[in-house]
Amino acid sequence: MAVGLEHYLILSAVLFCIGLYGALAKRNAVVILMCIEIMLNAVNLSLVAFSRYLAPDVVLLTGQIFAIFVMVVAAAEVAVGLAIIIVLYRSREVIDVEQADTMKG
């Protein structure tokens, strides 16, 4: 069976759901950031798969350009996210998201 668009999309869906599970079910804030990175990579994978397989004999470059913009946003997000985690660690000595509940109603 030849590998086609659906194979890559299903691989992307599996990776996305693994990342989503980790982001929902973990307590360590750094691990949650890692799982968000896995989710962003899964979305990038599906964008690149569409750019390759939507028109079967050429590679459409707009999908790859969208993936580049997603990477830019991921880099900005991880920089600010890690800064917030470091500040949380300095001020309260926790990086457990269940203990960081000062703003809980």
Partner: protein, 168 residues
């Protein structure tokens, strides 16, 4: 090349599962690097050579190193990589979501289009780097405004990160 896809799929999914399940957070970060690297190789099989290089440079070279720095800086408080109390409800919800996604993906009849000539494209097997640059900065169909906004976003993120972690 089907065997290569299946090998890469198994390794990347296994590495992602290991990130979630590994008890040692540092080893989880190393499995994350493995996952990023297999995705870079998948990009090569999808004729995205420039993106594969960018994936290695940004994700493995920058983001993983930042994450490992954060793990080392917060070494005092972490005790492993525990689950919170949503362990089983989250498994149920994400499992349901995965089933729905796979059903939709397999039931959808994905179209094969004939690419319009004005959209940036290269033939299968050709290098993409120069064509990506030409498409990104094309005067009519290009992405110059999003490019500038992305630059401003990165600048704002850098300044924000510095302001957040600065010692008072």
């Amino acid at each position: 090349m089907a065997w290569l896809f299946w090998l890469l799929a198994v390794v990347s999914v296994g590495a992602a599962v290991a990130v979630v399940l590994n008890r040692d957070i540092f080893r989880a970060a190393l499995f994350l690097v493995l996952c990023f690297f297999t995705i870079a190789i998948i990009y090569v099989t999808l004729n995205a050579d420039f993106l594969a290089a960018v994936q290695v440079l940004i994700y493995i070279g920058a983001i993983s190193v930042l994450l490992i720095f954060a793990i080392l800086l917060t070494r005092g408080v972490q005790r492993g990589n525990p689950f919170n109390r949503l362990k089983f409800p989250a498994l149920l919800i994400t499992g349901l979501m995965l089933v729905v996604l796979i059903l939709v993906l397999t039931w959808t009849d994905w179209p094969s289009i004939v690419a319009p000539a004005h959209i940036g494209q290269v033939a299968v097997g050709e290098p993409t780097t120069a064509a990506i640059g030409a498409t990104l900065f094309d005067k009519v169909q290009g992405f110059i405004l999003p490019f500038e906004i992305a630059a401003m976003l990165l600048l704002a993120a850098i300044i924000g990160a510095i302001v957040l972690v600065r010692e008072k």
